[in-house]
Subunit: 204 residues, 2 copies
């Protein structure tokens, strides 16, 4: 492991660009309601008209995105979540201000009991080298203990509880970084309460 | 250029995993309506409850996704589009069946006059080497002739007409592949008719 990778492993300044889409006329209320229930004080968060960006410690980035998704999905509306998680050594000045935060999660305990079955796909892109393929295969194996895992084109499909899937994704992402990838990107699509699950139609 | 890259440049078997989300109670009708208007006969397309996958020649993959987005957005509803375009040499057997198709676009002329102002973000991940940074910078410069371009965290923001943005994205993607990246991934988020554009709220 190089010094550069060591530095990354210690600090874990991560970020995510995501969007959440309730397929409902009430989409504004659902998004605003979910955001109101989530404590974002340990991350830097910025929303514009295309995506929301969250930066800070990796654990808080996952804590916040998991909570926003669950609070939106528990409304029972069909909600889609799309995210690109990113971790790279190159400095992230605004995010760094939030690296002084401790690792105590602010939202996890409030959402851990929300039962929300979801369908998900993720793809991992280790851009920074390392034995990443072994890491990915090992992590996909590990994920099989928690959720249903199946291969699809361009990604791996996960079916199960949202909490287990977010926790699994965080593990995969972190393990890839620790496997030596100095720049790692992970794309995630999650669908909750889709009418497709009831056979009404086929689309995310 | 290696023989492998040469083979890729000739064939351009590309794929995309995407989803389209109308933020409306009528989301099923909007999606079904858009799909009905698009000719997908030159690609392999498969939809499940998380994403839709389209595979075939690169030109048809962009032609089909651009048309689906525009037919959904022209309803005037707030529509979000998320896609991961992918091109890699490793064989894609079901997609290959569609490589015999010619390059005449089936949808482009039907959507080229649809005026649809959008906000978009894209990120390019050349996983296969090559002088890709020079290619990316050159392509971002080239895109400035057509749409407004600005840097954002983890991606590049584009504002302008949807047709110009899709055409620009196709050019960027193809140029990156031709620049020597044997495996290229590009993530795209596009938002149309967002209330944020009118200042109602801030979210995609």
């Amino acid at each position: 492991m190089t010094n550069q990778n060591k530095a990354c492993s210690k600090s874990y300044i991560a970020g995510v660009s995501f969007s959440i889409h309730p397929m409902s006329d009430q989409f504004i209320e659902i998004i605003k309601g979910a955001l109101k229930e989530v404590d974002t004080s340990k991350v830097h968060m910025k929303t514009d008209d295309v995506t929301t960006t969250v930066r800070g410690k990796l654990v808080h980035v996952f804590d916040v995105t998991k909570a926003i998704f669950l609070h939106a999905a528990k409304t029972g509306e069909h909600v889609a979540f799309q995210a690109t998680y990113s971790l790279g050594c190159p400095g992230d000045s605004q995010g760094e201000a939030f690296m002084a935060e401790d690792e105590t999660l602010l939202n996890s305990s409030l959402v851990k009991d929300i039962k929300q079955s979801v369908a998900s796909k993720f793809s991992l892109y280790p851009l920074g080298g390392g034995d990443y393929m072994d890491v990915i295969y090992a992590q996909i194996e590990a994920m099989k203990k928690h959720v249903s895992v199946s291969p699809t084109h361009y990604s791996t499909r996960l079916d199960g509880e949202a909490v287990a899937i977010f926790d699994g994704l965080e593990n995969v992402f972190q393990a890839t970084v620790e496997g030596g990838s100095s720049h790692t990107v992970m794309t995630v699509s999650i669908s909750a309460n889709s009418p497709s699950h009831k056979g009404d139609m086929k689309n995310g």
